[in-house]
Amino acid sequence: MTRRRLPEWFLLLLPAIIVIAAVVLIPLIFSLYSSFTPYKLTRPSTLWTWVGTYNYEKILTDAKFWTAFGRTVLFLTIALNLEMLLGLGIALMVNKVTWGQRTLRTVVMFPMMFSPILVGFQFKFIFNDNIGLVNNALQSMGFNVALPWLVDGKLAMFSILFAEVWMSTSVFAILILAGLFAIPRDPLEAAKVDGCTPFQSFRHITLPFLMPFIYIAMTIRSLDVARAYDIVQIMTGGGPARRTELLWTLMSRTGYVDARMGLANAMGYVSIILSVVFTIYFFRKLTAARAQIGMEG
């Protein structure tokens, strides 16, 4: 009796598949099911009531949800672009330094080690309207103001964005810097000989070469964009009056505070789709950029 043996690659992948299936897939299937029920933690029997797409209809017609959704997308777009530009700027500046570059690179990596929740607390402290560093500094410089950084809707959004950018720019800076190190010298020198301005050679040689590195950074970032949840949750908790509510804080409030798990899981699915779309988009960009500079392996 000969049983067909599983191929080796499958055996090697099996542990990964089992763990992910057990810890991620099963809960996700469960949450997909519960998003079609009016499940409430306080009344477990509601798990067996099937309401079809009621939860989805409810969130799709909910203005609060759409505001949070729009704000999340806007927030991510601004944050990612800003991080990319600043990261590029920092990398170019550090790359030009001839002395103490290693130290600078280490400093740039500094924020990567911070826990997102710690970043949240840190900036909650710094932007505190009463004892925060920013207001204290402003007052000591003679401005007689106490800006309500985390209380005013717009300022709070700015503070959160600042914290997010502070935390994540280093990923871009480090990766782009690695790209700058790897750049071949010949084309740049040829361009110089042929009379390109520094801007032209940056635009047509350096930047295309850096693109894959930028997209790796984007892909890595898009994998955990939801880390912003920790920051927002700590800094404002989605307040004041929901003015900094992102998809994730809305979801956790619905799930844990209102205990409406079914509804929260429906929102969870929308947020998962959002993350997945971001990730796939950058993965494809990465593949395309790799092909462009001939690194397809």
Binding site: L175, G255, F278
Partner: protein
Amino acid sequence: MDRNQSYRNHKRLMKALHFSGLFITMAIICIPGLWIVLNSFRPTVEIMAKPPVWIPTFTLDHYRAMFGGAGEGGVPVFSYFRNSMIVSVVSTAIAILIGMSGGYAFARYKFKGKNGYFVGLMLFRAVPGVALSLPLFIVFARVGIIDTHIGLILAYVAMNVPFTVWLTDGFFRQIPKELHEAAEIDGCTRWQAFWQVEFPVAKSGVASAAIFAFLTSWNEFALASQLTRSVGSKTMPVGLLDFTAEFTINWGGMCALAVLMIVPALILTFLVQKHLIAGLTFGGVKG
């Protein structure tokens, strides 16, 4: 003014701009972290002082209170630190083993739908922790592993495996196939060839993957805040919340715990800095 002069002026200006830009950037990166460290050594009265006190006085009160145990308004820091360590180290070790075998499969074998498997695996990493924490909480509660180390370790292993696979795949691909083929001709089994020939070469890549896994587990909050309840399993990021009360926050104490949280991460990152960058770029660009 001749052209030489103006050229020199231009160059000097660029240099000044470059320097000041760099200085401001570094200041923005450093000050928030230093502010936390500084405040962990200042008495609460001074932190709260209005108008602000700019010349700091030095005290170890917050550290004393923090290490003083749960009795005197302190936070059980040792337990949190231990939990964090156990959970991060064990989950990193398991994730590396599983991820390495997965990465090896992707790097060395050809099979149908490889790219599909790969992207599929990465997508599981993209599931937001908050979205996962809702159902995971319910499932873990049913199984009865809420508030245990095992539950948290399991969750982190699953979270770290995809990224580990990505990084190690990139590194194994760097190693020429001939290496293990030669070893096999010399009489090694594939298993031996891997551990004695390929693994030593890919060690730095594995190290960088390990650092990332460790940092992710060490810093994670969204899942930990739901899956842990008591002193027996709370990790340090969750422990930070102990310093918040309804309307007040014990800033000094929190800063002290924050310092305790940063130091291991800092040391670890400095030790393997070089591998870290190499790991990210090899894994991504050439993978």
